[in-house]
């Protein structure tokens, strides 16, 4: 599981397999949100890389900015409230943030597809599954007539192991079970042959056995097509099963990143530790981490220092005043980093 250590700048999180092509590199992404209560820095300097064939997990409580990060990447943030104010999103070397809406539409679905959390609501209830897949196909794959598109849609359904896809294609979402719906969403995502699939908590609403089946399906798809998967979740268990690398986000920032095993074995950030603790103690689906004292921070009026400070048992004055830099965690993984002043102490103590 340990990967060859490389000399990389500390501020960058690496998640590359040696063989994979670097598909996506996000640098210092910042998104601001205007709310009734004032400005919210929903995404505040997030960076990561994603290679083909790789699965990167992003973990955090709800409101930590993980979904906003990927939405910003694809520029589908809720307008006009949200603004992407800085950073770069390099997809195969091209900065997506410099592209216009038209060009972005060619990226969305075609290059980077997404699976949303709740299949109950993410499929349009008034159109058939076939319709919804064919629509995407027609937008991105103009080759072939209507019949060819329908054929492709059937293929996509077959790929996600939906039985009798020729019939299912005429079904409306409400005629399918939750698991099947989420597979259909998966079919929709892979139908146009994207290189990256962003899966935003795709299994949250499924029960455990279906969840396992679904994860297996994703892994198989990845093996077959060499997809890169960006997997957003608040569930360490899933990350452990699926990902090699992960980012832990808190209040719009990456607080810890690194290989899954390294983070599991040696969680450096108190927040990560608390998250892991809650996995052990509570059921894995807990959306709110009861184990951590205090509430997730309201996203406005954040402390100027470490955002976790108000809930952190170790917080001191410095934590409250100054945001800690990203520091390397001293363990076997070279790319394990975290943002915590206590890390500096441990560095200094050495």
């Amino acid at each position: 599981m340990t990967r060859p250590s490389r000399s990389t700048p500390l501020e960058e999180t690496r998640g590359a397999s040696a063989s994979g092509e670097l598909l996506l590199e996000v640098r210092d992404l910042r998104t601001h949100l205007d709310t009734k209560n004032g400005l919210v820095r929903a995404v505040d300097g997030v960076s990561f890389r994603l290679h083909s064939g790789e699965t990167l997990g992003i973990i955090g409580e709800s409101g930590s900015g993980k979904s906003m990060t990927v939405l910003s990447m694809l520029q589908v943030v809720p307008k006009p409230a949200a603004r992407i104010v800085g950073g770069e999103v390099l997809y195969r070397g091209q900065n997506l943030l410099e592209k216009n809406e038209r060009e972005m539409r060619r990226i969305r679905g075609r290059e980077i597809a997404m699976i949303l959390q709740d299949p109950q609501t993410s499929l349009n209830p008034v159109f058939t599954i076939g319709n919804q897949i064919v629509e995407a196909l027609r937008l991105h794959r103009r080759d072939g007539g209507g019949k060819a598109l329908v054929h492709r849609a059937v293929e996509a359904l077959r790929q996600v192991r939906i039985a009798a896809p020729e019939e299912r294609i005429r079904s409306y979402p409400h005629e399918m079970s939750g698991g099947m719906k989420q597979r259909a969403v998966g079919a929709l995502a892979i139908s146009c042959g994207p290189r990256i699939i962003v899966a935003d908590e795709p299994t949250t609403s499924l029960d455990v056995t279906i969840q396992a089946q679904y994860l297996r399906l994703l892994r198989d798809l990845q093996r077959e097509t060499g997809l890169a998967i960006l997997f957003i979740t608040h569930d360490f268990g899933i990350v452990a099963k699926l990902c090699r690398h992960l980012l832990v986000m808190y209040a719009g920032r990456v607080v810890e990143a690194g290989p899954v095993r390294a983070v599991f074995n040696n969680p450096a950030h108190p927040y990560t530790r608390a998250l892991l603790g809650s996995v052990v103690r509570a059921d894995t689906k807990a959306e709110r981490l009861e184990a951590i004292a205090g509430q997730p921070p309201a996203l406005w009026g954040l402390p100027s220092g470490c955002r976790f400070a108000p809930r952190c048992p170790h917080a001191d004055d410095r934590c409250r005043k100054e945001y800690p830099p990203q520091l390397r965690v001293r363990d076997e993984a070279s790319d394990h980093v975290a943002s915590c002043w206590r890390l500096e102490e441990s560095h200094g103590n050495r």
Partner: protein
């Protein structure tokens, strides 16, 4: 489901019965047709003979029971004012005109209100949204008869685009339909707007965006198709306002529908016709509400297949 419909049906029947009682009582309290239909110098003898002829000398409850008995057999009596016709015939003669006008006005209000609502939702909180709201409200802020007269003066007399009034084809219907529709636009546009807001916030719209679907398709196809259900329910409520509107609008435009008929019938104390109009409209009201349920199912496959 069937049981539910059956119960609804029975309750509707009871409501209908109550309606006949109210209408019967109220119309008979308003005075006698002999006072309305006979000339000024009708003699006492003539009046009394007609009172007997029309059966108005019998006790009220007897008249009501007789009316009810006949009504159950589909006979609402003969018109006192339009002699030679039954009350139902008189009303049915005029009903198509009202339905045509009402239908066109509903269509017009949809054509105007839905885009207004959609655009307002799309540009929520901006000046566009606010102006759309004010535009929609404008039509609801003028007395309908006044708007009708203005339309006649501007478009029929001034510009000569449409005929001023009366029965006829589509050209005759445009102005009254606009006057009638103006009232519904605001409510419909606002309903569309709020439904669209919900729809645009939904996950499936997000997913459509993530699929690379162009914005206009997202708004007009994905979101609107879902949002359209909410304004549809409004049409059930519209039935009542349709008649209210038609009474005024039909007078202004001399449109020989049931609205105009009902004024004439009340002025003439033509009880059978008044009763027929009200009963018919109550039935239509209930019917429309059923139709709305059916339409609901048509737009929303979740209900259709349920």
């Amino acid at each position: 489901m069937r049981r539910f419909l059956a119960i609804r049906f029975l309750q509707a029947l009871v409501a209908l019965l109550a309606i006949t009682l109210i209408v019967f009582g109220l119309t008979h309290l308003t005075g006698s047709p002999v006072d309305a239909l006979l000339p000024d110098d009708a003699s006492q003898a003539q009046i009394e003979s007609l009172i007997r002829h029309w059966g108005l000398d019998r006790p009220l409850h007897e008249q009501y029971l007789a009316f009810l008995g006949n009504a159950l057999q589909g006979d609402l009596g003969v018109s006192l004012k339009w002699r030679g016709y039954t009350a139902m015939e008189v009303v049915l003669q005029r009903l198509p005109a009202t339905l045509k006008l009402g239908g066109l006005s509903v269509l017009l209000s949809i054509v105007v209100a839905i885009p207004l609502g959609v655009v307002a939702a799309r540009h929520r909180g901006t000046m566009v949204d606010k102006s759309a709201n004010v535009v929609a409200l404008l039509g609801q802020s003028l007395p309908q008869f006044w708007l009708g007269i203005m339309l006649i003066w501007i478009f029929a007399v001034g510009l000569g685009w449409f005929p001023t009034s009366g029965q006829g084809g589509l050209p005759h219907m445009i102005l009254p339909a606009i006057a009638m529709a103006s009232f519904q636009v605001a409510a419909l546009a606002r309903l569309t707007r709020s439904a669209m807001l919900d729809s645009l916030r939904s996950e499936y719209v997000k997913l459509a965006r993530l699929k690379g679907v162009p914005e206009y398709r997202i708004v007009w196809k994905h979101a609107l198709r879902n949002a359209a259900i909410v304004p549809l329910t409004y049409f059930g409520l519209l039935a009542g306002s349709l008649l209210t509107g038609s009474v005024v609008i039909e007078s202004v435009f001399s449109w020989p529908g049931t609205g105009l008929l009902s004024i004439e019938a009340i002025r003439g104390r033509d009880y059978p016709v008044v009763q027929a109009v009200v009963i018919l409209f109550a039935v239509v009201f209930l019917l429309i509400n059923y139709v709305v349920d059916a339409l609901y199912a048509l737009v929303d496959p979740r209900i259709r297949r349920a």
